[in-house]
Symmetry: C2
Subunit: 383 residues, 2 copies
């Protein structure tokens, strides 16, 4: 079978393979990467009519892929893409995300990118995060996703998500609300010409203006359920780490988190009320040690940053009145009257310490500015 | 100096030491456990008047403890206790909690127990839990503490807390609301004759009826701040593990959790909204790996049970439509029309698989009851 386009052009050949093979078909990944996309396409089209005469293993592959050669002219899909202002990325060409190397033969054959700006998909270390979660989200989860995304985007961290209802949409919206900062990217399960789901059409359109819509299948592809699962591996692989904001029992966000963990990307999860079914998946991830507990945008940034590059400020666990004192000092301070003053012997008796011990502790407390002497008597310094 | 009671009676001697030494005074713990309480008391009272002539180390100890011998007649405190219907426990006597062995020389000298019922303090493995948290609690935290405590008590797990406002009170109330089940115990920082804080007087009174109020200091002791910190070590040591329900920045619950961890007791923390300051301490404990994330009474019970004795049911992370299927099967099922049926070739084309692969997958899906054949066509079985 002869194809109507120049299969020796590797860009066209990669693009064609992204239509012939289903996302994540790693047998195709092996063949295409072994032979190169043009040679593999030449081999496939040459054998398309005579699968029956091939040895069984080869025959299965030809029977799997050949039906999609019928009527294939990938220049049409590219034209659709270009009309939408998009561009194609193919493996190892400039702009191809180096992070996808970790996917091996399951890496996409091409990326169909719809964006008005030239947005990088090859993020520097610490420069990207995937924020995912349930479609069945709560107000709490949406607010949290949006606030974290806004702060992260303003800190220059690109927010990647799946363009779905609920947490995905909230994360995109938060990132879009940032002043300046990093763009937001939506990885779609269908073609970038289909703004799916319909209720997010406006949002996805806005993302295409300042960020990017990205798909591994060409325009015209239907976002089937299997493609959503395959798409999740891309969300997990593309960024420095994945944050699950809310995830119920059946949430695809858990599958994204599992992909990220398998790719040795850090996984975080945002806790919520134990009474909220929308947080059950997050709590499960944390409890099982599959995710770090993340409670702020700063902690999310720490999650995706190279170790030591960025540390979230510790929460203000301020020391209590006695927390930072040695035991004798705390007993002495505790034994002192609140408003008046007292002599060493009386403090010693109240503290259950010897007068010499009390004098030593008072000296150190005086140096720390916690007590003050006047004559024979000692009093607290109001804190 | 001669004391007005029989110091050769070990019960009186231990009781006296619980008044002479401040809680957690481990120098006293060493001396009293080395010499025995009666000999130690004899030594102290014999040297009380002549501390100046002793070598420095001994002198410090005598000066520390001797002032509290003035007017000491521990029979008076015991009389107060008995009038309240209480009883005294001394180290290693029947009923003494074996768990306190882990405290070594920091173990209490005595336990002043106020309870109408004979309530055990020597819990079997998995039979007790400490539930602690902020006084500045939220409705969410209080409800959670009460519900967990109720379920745990009905499951025979004794709930121990500190009798304070907020989470402590909610835990006690929840346990009291259980039908039958295990009693609840409040470990107090002051004497068991003082129902402190005043706003919990009614609650503490009820606990004394069906559970127990317990203190290491005798009746009349003032609940000073240092004694609260010392009391926290007892809460941590007495039970199989400690659960922090809500803890803000300065919460003493963090100190209880630290004590529990130092004693190798499991520590759990209940997550909450990241927007709630009352949950910040819990999230910090979880994030730092100091506490397990606990979201239900069953998980709390698992926390304090010996490994393998009791496992909380996994949350219902129900498989999605495709989750439990092999990749080929999920692609085939996904490629099938939702309401009508299709032939193998058409399914193969949609799935991006060879017809032979589709036939194999359909066979397995049929066995699993997910698809049905009629003639040449295959359709989904509604799930």
């Amino acid at each position: 079978m002869r194809l109507p386009f120049d299969i020796t052009d590797p860009v066209l050949a990669w693009a064609a393979w992204s239509r012939i093979a289903e996302p994540g078909d790693d047998r195709a990944g092996v063949v295409v990467r072994d032979l190169g996309p043009s040679t593999a396409l030449d081999w496939l089209s040459g054998n398309a009519g005579r699968a029956g005469s091939l040895p069984p293993a080869t025959r299965t592959m030809v029977e799997r892929w050949a039906p999609r050669l019928d009527g294939l002219d990938i220049r049409r899909e590219l034209e659709v893409l270009h009309r939408l202002g998009g561009h194609l990325l193919v493996p190892d060409a400039p702009g191809w995300p180096s992070a996808f190397a970790d996917l091996g033969t399951a890496a996409p054959m091409a990326l169909w990118v719809r964006s008005r700006e030239r947005v990088t998909l090859d993020f520097p270390a610490g420069g990207s995060i995937s924020i995912v979660g349930s479609r069945a989200s709560t107000r709490y989860g949406e607010t949290t996703a949006a606030e974290f995304a806004l702060t992260l985007a303003e800190d220059g961290v690109a927010v990647v998500s799946g363009g779905a209802y609920g947490i995905d949409a909230a994360a995109h919206r938060g990132a879009l609300a940032a002043r300046g900062g990093a763009p937001t990217l939506a990885l779609l399960a269908g073609g970038v010409d289909r703004l799916y789901p319909a209720g997010n059409e406006g949002l996805l359109h806005t993302i295409a203006q300042t960020g990017a819509l990205v798909a591994e299948s060409p325009p015209g592809s239907v976002p089937g359920r299997h493609r959503f699962l395959a798409r999740n591996r891309l969300i997990a692989a593309l960024t420095g780490g994945t944050l699950v904001v809310e995830a119920g029992a059946r949430s695809g966000a858990i599958s994204t988190a599992n992909h990220a963990a398998a790719l040795l990307r850090p996984v975080g999860a945002v806790p919520g009320p134990v009474t909220s079914a929308a947080s059950a998946g997050c709590h499960w991830l944390i409890r099982e040690g599959r995710a770090v507990c993340v409670t702020s945008a700063a902690e999310a940034r720490e999650l995706v940053s190279p170790v030591g590059d960025y540390l979230a400020p510790e929460p203000l666990v301020a020391p209590g009145l006695l927390d930072d004192l040695a035991p004798d000092q705390s007993r002495v301070l505790d034994a002192m009257p609140v408003r008046t003053s007292a002599e060493v012997e009386s403090i010693a008796r109240a503290a259950g310490l010897a007068p010499a011990e009390v004098r030593g502790a008072l000296g150190l407390l005086e140096l720390a500015g916690r007590v003050r002497r006047s004559g024979n008597r000692w009093g607290r310094v109001a804190s």
